[in-house]
Symmetry: C2
Amino acid sequence: MEANVRKIIESGAELTDRALERLLPPAEQVPASIHRAMRHSVFAGGKRLRPILCMQAAATITANGSLPEGVEDLGSAIELLHTYSLIHDDLPALDNDDLRRGKPTCHVVYGEAIAILAGDALQTLAYEILASVKCPPAAAIEIVRRIAQATGTVEGMIGGQVLDLEGEHHKPSAEMVHAIHRAKTGALIGVSLVTGGIFAGGSVEDVQRLQEFGRKAGLAFQIADDVLDVTQDSEQLGKTAGKDVASEKMTWPAVYGIEKSRQDATDLIVAAFDELAQYGDRANGLKAVAKYLVERTH
Amino acid sequence: MEANVRKIIESGAELTDRALERLLPPAEQVPASIHRAMRHSVFAGGKRLRPILCMQAAATITANGSLPEGVEDLGSAIELLHTYSLIHDDLPALDNDDLRRGKPTCHVVYGEAIAILAGDALQTLAYEILASVKCPPAAAIEIVRRIAQATGTVEGMIGGQVLDLEGEHHKPSAEMVHAIHRAKTGALIGVSLVTGGIFAGGSVEDVQRLQEFGRKAGLAFQIADDVLDVTQDSEQLGKTAGKDVASEKMTWPAVYGIEKSRQDATDLIVAAFDELAQYGDRANGLKAVAKYLVERTH
């Protein structure tokens, strides 16, 4: 990893972790079991990619390319939504995963009841945080609306989870793989970028450019993740490798093969960069992070 | 039931049902399984008490005592949050209820995975609706903040569910019964009233009065529900009667007995009415609904 992108990623993750530490109820706060469960999953080694992308998108829009004050709270709320979806996805009734990022999943440690409620509570807390972010109320309410849509059932995260569930044990089709990726992962990554732009006071055109960048880059990240899943072993990956393949999940490599998947990811990132041409150096941070995320697979 | 309160409740429920029909994705919208599951639980015979209370609180604050335009969307969002909590509460890992309001629960019909995601999605949709309610952005974002707090882990709905789970199989104590009631049911009812007032443009003082009214009335409703649970049979009630007692849940009658519980509920409603004295006739609708809800137990 280049020194530049390493610094962006490390400082972004640190800023997010500090914000999450401040925004989550303390572990000993009554009722303690759920606060411990929430913290277990939030601080289980997540890379904070969505907050980092959100913050870099915001920096792209500000006049001097620096992070607007308080944008880490927006990024943290998005990370909580990502974490809630992982907790529920890992439940026995869904993917039944005992391990994530090398650590036991929430229901393994705290039981199913608390894991279900901890997921619920992280979603709730995300909206409480969004309602207090430091930007004008009209922008804040637009951020809430966009995030709710991106995590909902119609072309959003939950919709993608449902398509994914329904798709198991069916032969993967290209069309279905696209739809699942777009909804399950692409929508939340896209809205991380878009809401970063809205938070920073971006125009309608700025927001549209970030949305298009996110559509292309988000798909590239998902392909990269799928490739990692089939090419790395469990120890490196911290989760049960090849599980998606074993259960015949509709992954990009399952349809297109590993080599073409890698090429598609690279091509998508190049196309995504074109969307940011007019921001010049102010987009360098965002572009560096996006490039790094895709090149992990090579 | 008096003709007056019957009309308020029936027209309020009808207005809410029409709004919910419009706001929920159609049953055939892809992915259809989750939209059918969401509709199954939302249209399973709920009495729409929270939306009705929200609308009547709003009417108390408006100059002429009538419903402000669009308040039914706010009420509907609150009803979705109530429904999501019921779906998750009924899951096998939590209360394991097969029947609610005389109908099979969500996971019985659609399976646990879809029921978990349908609950998640109703919470998400609630915030999408709240981000589009017809009031100034500053009021809308305050409504989002208050509702997220009231449904969260610290003295909110989820916190109450956790206390309730942890309290099972322990001997009920008065203090714990109070805390569970306040969080699990009182907080959402309270915020229905408070956000109705905010939506209608109420002052800080108006909102405080509605909050105090809600604190007292909300506890009265929960006591009334607990009394109903032990005095009615399953057919009348549409759920497994006496279940809370059988599993040693900390209900009000379990601690104080049925007669004192009924008296406490009546006393609390009288105290709640005092909070609304200055609104005169404009509070009549709200008071009539509150009185009806408590007198169901007699």
